[in-house]
Amino acid sequence: MPSSTDASINQAAAQAQLKKVKKQKVLLMGKSGSGKSSMRSIIFSNYLARDTRRLGATIDIDLSHVKFLGNLTLNLWDCGGQEAFMENYLSQQRAHVFSNVGVLIYVFDIESRDVERDLATYVNIISALGQYSREAKVFVLIHKMDLIQSTNREAIFNQRVAVVRRKTAEAVAILHKHQPSPSSLSESEGGIDLDMHLFATSIWDQSLYKAWASIIHDLVPNLGVIETQLASLGVAIDADEILLFERTSFLVVSRWSSHEGDRNPYGDRFERMSNILKSWKHTCSKFTGTPRNAEQFTEFEYKMGPTFSMFVTKFTANTYILVAMPPGEARFNSAKLNVAAARPWFKFLDGPPVSAGPPGQIPAGLGGYSNEMGGMAAEA
């Protein structure tokens, strides 16, 4: 294979700039019943959407230390949204909750009855955040979109976005008043505005994966390395598209598309693939009777005659890889071989070599989820 040589060069270059394990504090906030725990359990605990009905309310803060890939740990603070708790976060625990925050995920319930109140709380949260963690990124999810007629979704969402942006601005203004150091503030203000992203989500479709993929995207260490290496792999096996998934959540960690691949009309295909594969995984677990969050399938190949071929395969300990490519038996087989050959370059995705468990054991990622959502009612 001509490819492997130049790839190995990239690899060497890449290895040089690898970073150590990273930890991130992620606040998951929003009014009670807005669906925080549900989305969390779907993304990280392999819940089925309908299983989340069985969840109880989150008392105070439910902390989980989620290992994502080998080298990223998300300290996920799922904050119960009851008023009593909110008051508490903003007063007693203010410093404790809002300092060292990497990402704030604020969830709005689209069908909430008392929008004004929600926004008021939101503003308080934002200003508290601004006070203790200026560099934090903010993701606002307008959730439960499935409860809106699909026809009106667009409109309602946009209108909501407008309101939230306005309120955010107000919050920043409040910060202005309370913080006498304009220099640092201006940038922090900018920070808040710039680093705010809004998504319309529903646990019933891939919109959730879109939001979360973009949330974790910036958090993943060594992203540059991953991308360059994916690219070189893609070129080597002349694929049309390559997606890299985290093994448990099936969130897209990184992707690469050829020119042709970019022409693909389906803009939502990435989160859609996440969704498809995740639910496929569930099907398998139901079939095999093995745990949901255990690894399910290793190999999935599909050749659609002369139209295209694709395969999804277990890649590194913590990742799956999807390759979509032109048809052709020989091409297909060599691609598979090359992908296998490329595994070692991506070993770093499994984090510091020490932490890679011996084969045959459930690898690192799993540990992180097991202890959260203790009362997993899914099997009922």
């Binding site: 902390l63 603070w77 745990p291 468990g357 459930i362 540990g367 202890n371 009362g375």
Partner: protein, 790 residues
Amino acid sequence: MALSVLPSPDNFVGVALVINRSRDGPRFVFHYPPHVAAAAAQSLGSQADHGDDMDDDDDLAPRRNSRMASFEGSSSHAEHGADLGNWNHDDHLVTDSGSQIVPWERVAGFPTKDLENILTPARAYHKRLFQVSLDPLYCVSYPIYVPENGVWRKKKREQQRTSGVKDDDGSAQVETDGAAKSGDKGASDADRLDRRDAAKGAEEAEDKKSNMTMFNLVFFLHPNKHEVRDLVDVMFVHIIKKINKAYKYCQQRSDFVWKESKKILALKDKGREDKRKMSLLWDEILATSSLAASMQDIYEAVSQNKIAALQLETAEGMVTHSVQIPVPFHVSDLPPDPEGDQSGLWMTTANSFIPDDDIEEPEYLDKNFALLLLADEKKIVAELQGDPDGATVSMVEFVRHCKPTLSFHQVGQQSSNVLTPAQVRKYAEHFIYWRRAIAIPPLHARDMYIVNPNCDMRKLQQASARWARQFPLLPALPNFLAELSVAPRPYKLHCPSKAHRHVYMQMLAWLMRGGWVTQLCTFAYVVVWPEIIYEVEYALEAEELTSAKRAQGVAREPSPSDTDTTLASPGSSISALADTATAGFGFLSLLDDASNMSSSVATLRPNTSSDRDTPIASPLRRPGDSLSRGTSHDSSVSAASLSTPAEQAAEKARLERIADKAARDLAERAMAHARKAAPVRTAHPSVNSARHLVGISPRIILDAKKATGKESRYLSAIGQRLRDRAAAAPGAASKDAWEGRVAETWPLFWKYFNGRSALERIALQEEMKRKDVWNLLTAMSEFFICVRHW
């Protein structure tokens, strides 16, 4: 003194460290022992609570609850299937739902994930008792928070201080106050901190940014229902507070607690991923972290009620600290439960009976106590030389010198003053603290020793075996004890010959150590026999009369009636005078001791006033005063309101009437007094059964030292007796001198006649020859009654 509840593996089930951090939140760092048993909650009907047994409709409650529990728990518990049943709690399990059950993530039946939340209380608990009970488990701790400004580390000067944990306590207080005052500027401080750290390596910065906000060393207790308070109390005061302060000290100086926690958590994460057996992981952690090791020590030692010696390897060097629950090595009275945990303890009242006003005086203790080493002298010396330091030499010296027969005071002297009293005291305390020795009243061959009523016969087997090895050629332990116990006799009488004296004292010491014997002490109260009482009463009456007459004499010419009286009983009047004299003397002497003994006299004055007896100031005046006051008051009135002659006449008449009446009364009383049998002093008041004494019952003076008023007169009267004896003694100068001494020592000794000071100690206290003391006591023995116990 004796603690009712002590920690044991049954009621002290584990210790755990929980910390809280602003980035990754509460973390359950470490716990020991590895497996804290899940104590079944009472709601599952395990507890045998008398109340519940009795009304059965309440038993339904528990069952209901348990059902609810299983119902709600079904989701979480059903998930780990039957495999939990036969789980060794060492390997990892994977549940049907695929989640991994990590052996160290369930403690006492709770997920650590939940525990770490409930065990990181709000700042309001900073340096206070935090106690939450999760039926039936009690979690008790003393949470320590970072100062409001978010900086553990102390300012430079404080870092230089190498002072012990104790004074750290004080400074800690200061620091928190300071933080409290500077509420907001705390933030800016924190920022400064951040910037400073930004300079340091990324590692450093990372840690600082996610700094530990509090740590909490939690003790899991499982006390009996009725012992909760005692156990918590004991643990909190002696262990929990102290250890947490020690940790705080290290945390402030070298970020110790966090650094160690970080290490441990890392190991646990790795262990979780590699699915390491818990046993292996724990060994590793204990080996690598001195914090974890210290927790092990704490548990192992405290649950066995030993001394926990912490050795914390902080960045700034080893910090050592030791905590313990002081064990009672003696009890003052028989424990209620003969098979209880106190059985076998040596019994003595030596400590509990220390007169309150002497308790502070070191001299008192120095004279009354000797050090009894619990281990062999050589062994201890070896131990000392094991890790030598500055004091080692003099301590060895001390060990060599101190004998159970020598009071600290004497040790000081014997060591030809190599050791200052302060040193002696210090070292003694040291050995007692480390449970290498106990303080006992010095052993003496003339004292009586009886089998300790509290001794634990169950230990007799082993003891007699050891005894046999120690003292091969001597009577076997059972027999010796039997011999001792038949009847109380001075110890020396058990000793066949002077040659044996030494070894017999060793045997005695041995028995003391084992709590097999205890000293039989003698406690005395002064008893006032009717004769004395009568005499004093009589004298008082006489005085009253005389002074009354003197008062009347002022008013008008003496009436025949008084002459009668004076004629009637010359002896009595004389005696009265004599009495008053002695009484006076009695007082003075008493005052003397009182003043140089203590300040208690002052406090005594008030309650004398309640007495209808004469106040200390002027015993003779008062009755007269009172009387004259009675009259003169009237006269003063008259003097004030003299107006018309008629009135004056009337007034005069009235006065005369009154005067007459007074005179008549006086006369009558005088008659009565005269009619009374004059007190007769017999050589032995105790057996005087004269008619006039019938109906008077002897009285006991509870504390001769504090005696006042009439009681003091009794005492002096007794003193007088003794002097009389001296006088009465026919010829024989020596005897005379002797009786004299008895009389003199009486006022000196009576302070010991309070039922609390053992007469055996007088010799030590007064630094007199004990033989001498005993003779004196016997001489005056008629005047006190004795009680004998340990």
